[in-house]
Amino acid sequence: MWAVLWKDLLIEWRSRDRVLAMGVFALLVVVIFHFAAPAGPAAGGEATREHLPGLLWVAYVFAAILGLNRAFALELENEALSGLALAPGERGWIYLGKAAASLVLLVAVQALAALAFALAFDLDLVPVLLPFSGIALLGALGLASIGTLFSAVAVRTSYREVMLPLLLLPLLVPVLLGAVRATHGLLAEGTVPADALRLLAVTDAVFLIVSFLGFEYVLDE
């Protein structure tokens, strides 16, 4: 598993294509949201601030999908995926390696986007940095876990770029709603609602288990 993680990160470091695409995308989203939904004291600003957690997480989800789309694309060259599949033992570990790599990339982009959001919308995240990071991590775990599994699926279908969002979005609803609720609660009241955290945790666990076990079947021929 660590080998796969190391490999993915090394390749990413060399080409930096995924993280750049994700990062730029997230920044663009911030810019667009700023123009589409002004959050200043003017009329409607308050409503926008209400919606900021939602906007942030939508940005995260789409950036994640962008990155995940490429996660297995690199495995198709020279059939490298078969090379991984030849390794003895449980193939779920290969899955974990790849999911972990996607997680690392996603967290990096999350940090960047959060910073941009805070600056653009005049949000003060510093006091709640720790809980916010926790929520972000839980959410990212949900995204990366089920996303990696279906990235492996989507990459072997026709229309692969379209297939992944199609497959993922209905499944990501619990992650999205949980994370938004948690973030919203955190920013509005200063504490994270426990039921949202529970939902995120349970969803993450379910997704990880399903993906770990399911990966064997996805790789099998």
Partner: protein
């Protein structure tokens, strides 16, 4: 008499409605070199993938590995090295990094040391730090073979290793395979090239459209005999039948 390296009984593969490989019985002794011959679409790659543990048979029994771990596919993969038609290398990683990765994946104790040793043995030190994507086909092929050997498997499988190689590289490959064969590895290689097959093979397996015929040593070592059987087989696949379960 050591146990056979590969045992297949009634091995069959279908893709949906189409049959890629008819029920096949095969026994490969340890240290034997079997060449799999056949035109495109015959099922050679399918067979090799099943032997490698990449593909699950639709029916039949397959044991690969003389130590009896053959039944469980996961463990079986430890005893097999595959050189596929594609190089299985990550273009963005160097040759050495690819080998280290493979070593780690297969649980080789000192992956880095092993990678260096393999590179030295195959005289590839010069391109060790080159990205795999930049290597010529011949060089990439040699790295791919090293990759297949990283965990020192007793069985080596090669899918069309001679295709795309210039004559000199092909000569070198033939010599390499002969050397590995002499050293006692069991080898199963598929090819179109009857000449090479005749000079290397202990036995040959002829596959046409999923039908198989096992050719004994006398035939396998004679270019002319191989050619004749090949042509006959192409003309009428169902009549190939030796070693096919009725």
């Amino acid at each position: 008499m050591s146990p056979p390296a590969i045992v297949a009984r009634g091995l069959e593969k279908r893709f949906g409605a189409a049959v890629a490989l008819r029920p096949l019985d095969l026994e490969v002794a340890a240290g034997e070199l079997v060449v799999v011959l056949g035109p495109n679409g015959a099922g050679k790659t399918t067979l090799l993938r099943m032997l490698a543990g990449l593909s699950r048979p639709s029916a039949g029994h397959l044991e690969v590995g003389a130590d009896g771990s053959g039944g469980d596919r996961r463990a079986r993969r430890r005893g097999v090295g595959l050189v596929a038609h594609a190089s299985l290398l990550y273009p963005a990683l160097t040759a050495r990094e690819n080998l280290v990765l493979a070593g780690r994946l297969f649980g080789v104790p000192d992956a880095e040391g092993r990678a260096d040793a393999l590179l030295a043995e195959a005289e590839l030190e010069a391109c060790a730090s080159q990205r795999a994507g930049a290597l010529s086909r011949g060089l990439a092929q040699r790295v791919a073979i090293a990759r297949a050997l990283v965990h020192d498997p007793p069985i080596l499988l090669l899918d069309e290793p001679f295709s795309g190689l210039d004559p000199r590289a092909a000569e070198a490959l033939e010599a390499r395979l002969a050397g590995l064969h002499r050293a006692g590895r069991t080898i199963v290689a598929s090819t179109h090239d009857l000449e090479r097959a005749a000079s290397l093979a202990d036995r040959a397996l002829l596959l046409v459209r999923g039908f198989a015929a096992l050719l004994p040593r006398e035939v396998a070592r004679s270019r002319a005999a191989l050619e004749e059987r090949y042509r006959n087989g192409l003309a009428s696949p169902p009549r190939l039948a030796v070693g096919v379960r009725p």
